[in-house]
Symmetry: D3
């Protein structure tokens, strides 16, 4: 009799064989409004058994056509963001150094910083493609620099101007808007109309970190997140964009963050996040 494993459906390749390695960062200590994203990765694993491994859209199957290893959740210290980020960075680095793609499941958006730190060390010239309802470009939030509200600003500290491309942004401060207008990052407000241009501009070779704050999706389709902003992208729109990035760009690392399952007791936000993850994993070239 063998113990049961706790993995996302179909993601049970051995580490050594895997092309992609999932890991969860159940952390939400800097969330400023409604916490709960810490439960995102566990909910996705549990609910993944409500979806098929097969995608009618791509005619591919998670259990047959790709090799993914789900390594489970890190055990992160709440209330100590510095140490939590170090632990995320270490895990991500370990995966990158094994020649695999780290795929981080948040948790709040701050966790992205840990993984970006790791990936940027190994992939000079890293770009970030960022889907989000919020700009996350503040210099600090109530004096705190390691906050979810500042995560893209911290990434900019590492990567510098011209490397971050944002879509779907529809909330921020006047200062954040000015930071965009000053050209530090490339932001499309409210929509993704310029998406094809950006893909073309980045090109198929440049290393790309793809970060998806799921609240970029309209709250009618994805209410299960801490800070809902009406007027978001449609699921089908985002799905198309993400599949295209996974296929056409050189994605070296990814994350999906800010699912807060308890806020949506219908369960459909978690179901949507599971489906999106399946499609991303199937689309990665």
């Amino acid at each position: 009799m063998e113990p049961q494993l706790n993995q996302f459906i179909g993601c049970n390749a051995p580490f050594d064989d895997a092309k992609v390695v999932l890991f969860g960062a159940p952390y939400d200590s800097t969330t400023s409004f409604r916490p709960g994203a810490r439960f995102g990765p566990a909910a996705m694993r549990a609910e993944s058994f409500g979806i098929e491994t097969y995608s009618m859209l791509q005619d591919r199957d998670l259990a047959e056509d790709v090799r993914v290893f789900d390594s489970g959740d890190l055990e992160l210290p709440f209330g100590a963001p510095d140490r939590a980020l170090d632990m995320i960075e270490a895990r991500s680095l370990e995966i990158v150094d094994a020649g695999k793609i780290p795929f981080l499941l948040g948790g709040e958006h701050l966790v992205t910083l840990g993984s970006v730190r790791a990936v940027a060390k190994r992939h000079p010239g890293l770009h970030i493609v960022h889907f989000d309802a919020h700009a996350d470009l503040r210099e600090d939030y109530l004096g705190v620099k390691l906050s979810h509200a500042c995560v893209m600003r911290r990434c900019h500290d590492i990567l510098g101007d011209g490397r971050i491309f944002q879509f779907g942004i529809r909330s921020g401060t006047r200062e954040e808007r000015q930071f965009m207008l000053d050209g530090h990052v490339t932001t499309e407000l409210f929509s993704d109309t310029t998406f094809a241009d950006v893909v073309k501009k980045i090109g198929p070779e440049a290393p790309v970190y793809l970060t998806v704050d799921l609240d970029v999706i309209d709250p009618s389709e994805f209410p299960g997140t801490g800070t809902q902003e009406a007027g978001g992208l449609k699921f089908s729109q985002l799905l198309g964009d993400l599949c295209r990035i996974c296929k056409d760009l050189n994605v070296v690392a990814m994350d999906n963050v800010e699912l807060s399952p308890a806020l949506d007791q219908t369960g459909r936000s978690t179901a949507l996040a599971c489906k999106l993850l399946r499609e991303e994993l199937l689309a990665l070239r």
Copy 2:
């Protein structure tokens, strides 16, 4: 002082005068993910008093312009699908034999099989028009043949090739996809673009069983169902299709299934199901 009746609003014609007879099949024993569809019919009756009997869309009134009898719920044995299907078949047959249209309210999708068995006995050449997020074409599910996940396959066992037309399907296995590609059923994935062609192909005379798994609607509009699949039809799109079928085809029997009211505590899924039912009843020629 008379006792109060438990009927859908405006559906209190005497049985003998009725054109349509509603009945509920509160059964969900084979549901593989989240049960609760058993409570669908009762919730619809209770909440129907939150909508008007009058439709601004059709300028028709349920209490004045049609004759519908709501005969209440069957009392079905949980855990005994064979006997439950027999009871559903018997009720449906009784209605068909009285020259009326049986309109079944589920319950899980398996209940459709009972009614299709009855209707197919009396209407040779029966076609099925099927709206659903899921193909429901498995040969068996964990070895069980009388499962919601197999219901269209069981209907195909009865009707044979070329009689089943599916819309909105966006989840299934590779084997189900192959069954479609082999031409046993006619399936449009993800949408309803070919709907007008199918209506034309079936024609105004052929007997039609219309089965609507309400999870065909996008979960943003209809979260109250057990297995939510992002990327569905819009309510207005489905409403248009159903009204057209009711008006232009020879619908001899119908069902609406898989409302699971407790999963959507805002109540809007039940409200939507009530409104859809009203419009279908008003549109039937």
Copy 3:
């Protein structure tokens, strides 16, 4: 140490300096289906701290670019609609007489009548632009004339024919439909296609009372309301219309009603209502 104020975010101008004065009417005694709108204004104040004061859409900031005073909630007697309406009328009149725009937050839709009574006294030739899922044109509801279901009929009693313009209406009785067809009010069913024409027809000078029953929005985007009607306007569509009215017409008074926060435990209905209110306040000329 000063006590904290209970005001919508950024709406802390002193009364004398304010252009707009918010007040809440937490009343829902005549609600015929699911009550709870009484908690709308309090929920909006509390949740307003989850949104920014800055609007990326308008590049304006509630705390910097407009002067709004939130005067809190009236304490209204449940079960005594006459007296409640008197108190609302008095508050609205006090604001109008100070040369300011009263902005009422409901509560159920009946509260609109109190404010319309006040505004009509001071602004002869008042027009009403009305967004709603329901016609609210009944002569009475179960014999009661001061009911949310009759509020526009009561407004028509005051203003007469040709002054009320309705959008998004998709539920009502045959009698209400006839009232529209008889030309007493101008109603667009289901949508807002004729919106631009109506704006043009009213013109930039005529005084306008803008009343928004938030259930005009599709329940997929705004489930937090007592009587949800599928098939509504999109948030972005409504937002565009409201901003245009605020900018192009002579809006002398406004209200937003029928948020029932407890019905949507994801919190996004309240968040949407907060965002809409911010945009309306920023758009008022």
Copy 4:
């Protein structure tokens, strides 16, 4: 095929044969805190099928050993308490005049007044035994005299001093406390220790109206009510008291009020109310 009836389980005696007649008063317009009691009677009927008709406690069966007729809900006008009370009074009088016991299901506590008015007309010397968390003895509430918060005071207006006996009261104003201390009513605060004495004092002949505001039960056992007060009676304690009253006193009319089912989504408050109702019906001599 017969239509289904909407009755509490086992309560389908014909009116003429019945000893007890149930009726619902789905009204909550004067509720000052959280409304929703209007849905109490409907929820009890629907959920009654989750309990047995047989009581192990009393070895009696609702379907076999008593004759109860459930006459359904009145259709009451929200926002018009005067007329609602008239309709309740009329129904209660009709039942009393047929020589039967009216058993009213609320709704908010104000509905009791309608039934007490009827019963007091036919039963001179009427006593009231009152279980409640709240004294309900205010002269008025925000100027309103027909309020749930004043219902016992209005009953005292009818019956005079020495006729009302209260148990479990644990919330009220200083004025209400003084009204008790002045001897107008007999009140036991917090508990029911003096219950046996009161039963003895009233005696087996005097006509008794028994009114039970279910919030007298501790919120740990009965959270589904609008204004929960910690420190209440235990269910078993209340059950014992009520059975004793039903058996030993001359109960001529009863009510159970203030179940607000949507506030307790576990469903156990409704289940408890159903069980309590079964036991009361079985205990009535």
Copy 5:
């Protein structure tokens, strides 16, 4: 990098070393009221990380002082109770034959039958100690013999008279009551006063199957179950009884059933079930 295991906290002994083997039977197809018990075992594993492995009550630690192996959930076919019971029986037999104690986590109460069948084969003279709110002694339920409502009757079919001891029963039919009175089983209604006598009567040597339907606990403490019955045992009372049985009797197999986690969104029912399981595991001699 190793995959994470999906086990109850502290229950990660290898199978060969274990004294107790946990397994889940996520089945609820015959549930007659509100289904959902299928999610019980998964919820307990996930939430077990919210409790300590150490018990202050027993001064013992799950990770240090006992050896338990959690073998995960069986994958059972919904709608096919015969086959589901066969699979449960097979797993239980495998554990018994390895000289270990099978500890089954339900699921609905019917699953007990599978395990009792296995254990009765190997332990002649088996007794059952049964805690439950419901008698579960029906001969059939709507004609179905393999129903949760009949599970103890089916066990009686196997074990015969004098072997089943019930506590806390407070709901059933007149026929079930008669079955008790006829002496087929020994039942204490409502409470556990005779518990010590029963323990003495069974004695320290006789093999005992201990089955705990968690709805025996009062719904105020344990609302997360499908059919809540007011008037139950206190948690502390049950805890004491179960620890005593585990210590003083020869318990050869156990189960805990009928946790339905989604019905209690506060999470405390699952937390209580986790704590109870820890204490039982620590108490087993």
Copy 6:
């Protein structure tokens, strides 16, 4: 027209006149299980209008018989516990130095440390009376020393042996149990039997900080907290203890922490917390 204040009902004395000053610390960043306590103080203020200012138990009225100033919530930086504690300490010190009693509303239990630091500076010989389900005596939690799970250990760092008295503790680690057994703190497990002895031992003169983690109450009465532990104190028991402490000891500062309102959607946990706060404020000598 004056702005509305955001204060607990009846707590609107001016600062200078007040004997007690309330302040909220909406912080929960170190919560290890389910966060949400940050919303506790705001929920208590909003819901306080559902209780009376008058206490039948003490025959005292919050608005008439005591002088309390509610100074609102601090704006604390999530993810920066050091700075958050500094801000809490500063506020508490300001109140103590004005000769008043600071009454802190959490937030998670860590916030207590800030206030204890302030109070210990001004009151040599400070004692702590601590009600809680959890020992909170860990040296660190996942390496973090400023964690809710360590708060009493940090207080012990300040006060030393013999100064902390714990009641109701029923969860902890073996190490925490040893810390108790070593005599560093005085702990009564599970109950409060020794309460009177402790009160006597401390005596009427020694300065006391009273800290109440509301999860000490049994989850049946108080489910709205992050980590529920079955087997807690009854509300009435705790109420009696707290009133006695407030009357008989020299309480120089207090707090009530760990209400997490969103976890209990019935609202009764918040209502209970409001009532308890009223009684404490009325009992303070």
